[in-house]
Symmetry: C2
Subunit: 465 residues, 2 copies
Amino acid sequence: MLDPAPMEDVLAYIDGHRARFVEELREWVRIPAISSDPSHRADVLKNAQHLMAQLEAIGMEDVQLWPTGPGGTGHPAVFAELRSSPDRPTLLVYGHHDVQPVDPLEAWVSPPFDPVIREGRMWGRGVVDDKGQVHIHVKAIESFLRTRGKLPVNLKLIVEGEEEIGSANLDALLAEKSKELAADFVCVSDTAMFGRGIPSLCVGLRGMAYLEVHVTGPSIDLHSGSFGGGIANPVNVLARLIARLHDDDGRVQVPGFYDKVVALTKAEREEIHGLPFDEPAWLASTGAPAAAGEKGYTTLERVWTRPALDCNGIVGGFHGDGSKTIIPSKASAKISCRLVPDQEPEEIAQQLGAFFQRHAPPGVKVKVDYLHGGRPYLAPTDHPVFEVAKRAFAKAFGRPTVFIREGGSIPFVRTIADRTGKPCLLMGFGQPDENSHAPNEWLDLENYHLGIKSAAYLYDELSRI
Amino acid sequence: MLDPAPMEDVLAYIDGHRARFVEELREWVRIPAISSDPSHRADVLKNAQHLMAQLEAIGMEDVQLWPTGPGGTGHPAVFAELRSSPDRPTLLVYGHHDVQPVDPLEAWVSPPFDPVIREGRMWGRGVVDDKGQVHIHVKAIESFLRTRGKLPVNLKLIVEGEEEIGSANLDALLAEKSKELAADFVCVSDTAMFGRGIPSLCVGLRGMAYLEVHVTGPSIDLHSGSFGGGIANPVNVLARLIARLHDDDGRVQVPGFYDKVVALTKAEREEIHGLPFDEPAWLASTGAPAAAGEKGYTTLERVWTRPALDCNGIVGGFHGDGSKTIIPSKASAKISCRLVPDQEPEEIAQQLGAFFQRHAPPGVKVKVDYLHGGRPYLAPTDHPVFEVAKRAFAKAFGRPTVFIREGGSIPFVRTIADRTGKPCLLMGFGQPDENSHAPNEWLDLENYHLGIKSAAYLYDELSRI
């Protein structure tokens, strides 16, 4: 393939500073920026400031801390810009600097916030979701600036601090900063590749509706001997409500749940079936004894293109060592629905709330809280920028780029797509089994390295679109 | 009613030392003898030793600490004896000195192990279940010995330390100590009266089978976006297994569960319906919005005479503040069945274990642990000792004694009845809403006082049987 603008200088810089880049990422990962935990609020701020210092050090202009939420009650986002030339296109790069909680802490082989390198991987909370992927862009920018003094495109960077808690304040921020964030294309690096060494552009994301269901029966825990059989048990009731959510074929039973689901076309199914999906390896990576799910769909179809309803947690009554003979006063469960086009989070949340109330027996009170949600996304893959991105990615990895989807949710993507109408490139460098929301999260350091090159190629390719 | 042996001296002593008796009980309640918590092992021993010191102080002979379990690994029981005369009958009094756990600690109005007096009640863990009721006998014995120098009957006292964890080592102890424990009658004070001021002899107890069910899916928590819909979720699976345990009429669906249940006779039902049961007050005491249970039975029938299956607790996945989007690796529930004659605990546990395995989907592994059990009990109420006990109890409270049942389990009763064939008097002084297994356990101090008199009358009446 003819390469009109040789990249040797930039690539050599990336190769030459590989070890330092890794060390700098390790430093950043040490900050425990758990956005869901109020006790880590100061850490999330410190985390943002650490990123700002890095951006200023490599020569980004207008590095800004953007408070979010009413009265700045949210976690701050970081914004930075580098103007190259008015006749070059502008790329907006999105990432997030906050991370998931770490519990159960005892399941980590090495401490989540003291990252170590082993087996060619960096292990720690946030190494790939999403600090490592933000860092890929920071280092690609640095590599251009240190070798050529400027970028081939105009570049804006927005790194939010609330992605792991549903980006509740993001929409307001995007509205407020629409001028600052104006761009021709958007690139999001917060997804996984199809497999090691397979450059992959993600063209679909599932949305989300996250709820918490509380069942309350007696006002205190009762003696299960004295009262057992005469009082509705909140744990049993909650179990029955949860069980009722699916039929035996794994189909969600909430009325209206599937009404807006757009069925896969024959072409879409064939595209998915054409991917080199190693289901036994996928299953082995989970440790589960068998795959499961909605009847009539393959595993990839289920996790990419079908809605899913999962309990993320449940608690009620006594669960310590030994036994306690009580009817618990209350029980609760956290439930998340993964949504596909054209399901709407608020609508799904309302359907679930009504379902729980309708099936609650008279012996309990049920309360359903809608915690947060995000709409699903499908990319406009007929836009030429997707061919450009495919080419850039393929150059770095030396292999053709595939279109994939992702079962997870990135509220920003849907929101920015709605707000700007601009194409959004989901160029992710993670791996499917990277434990991004579990203990022992890891980043493949070869992917990280080739990711920096991919980003550099992307900036270069986009300059000629 | 003619009273052949005036009791004025003993009753006057009981009235005269009322305040001191209460203070002595408070002292004992301060010891946190939680038998289910290994970290309180030393406290359970200290608790037994405290009781021994009290028994020695009032003049009991042969006060002994009886180790239990293989190599003394169980919690110790306390035994004491007082021989009066070879031609008088021998009464064996049973109680337990161990107590329930206290969590949730934050729900206690006053500290569980720093008992306070308010509203004519003592509040603390173990005040009524069962330290207060053991103390009633200790003080009745003291009252005879201090006024007359001897008891009207031969008396043996066995106070075990493992009742709240299923009395696993009790059967072996009873076998080993059959000679020491030989008696003509048995009295157990560990039940509740039908209501305040209503002397009640409990003639039936439910048994128990206590299990823990563990469901394991993936080997670690998975990202619910990446894997949701493709992997069986252990929380959802556990909920479905629990839901399947009952039908919509509240009937247990485990095959064989009801096979050995003896149906109530018409006379038994009429006896129960004749009791002054204030269901609205009973319901109000629970705080639940409505009663519930097996179709075709009244509330009293349900909690006294029908088997029940309750989840005592459930846990799995994330249940902290905020949200976490995972498919949990595992979930577990504690489940207790309350059994009625002639259900057998081991048989029921096996049926449940088989049920869970049969209905476990291939995407998970299910493990069922049988923690402990106890057989149900029905008293031989045609034996004349029941009339004697009714009379003694009625004298203290000035009101006729009723026969009641109790939904709870006291493994000792069934075991001692099987081992000795002797009648067992369940003379309890608790109240139905005393929170014995919940926060804010309380003891009615008037009942405690009249309880001491009832025990004294019982010893006196039994001397002439």
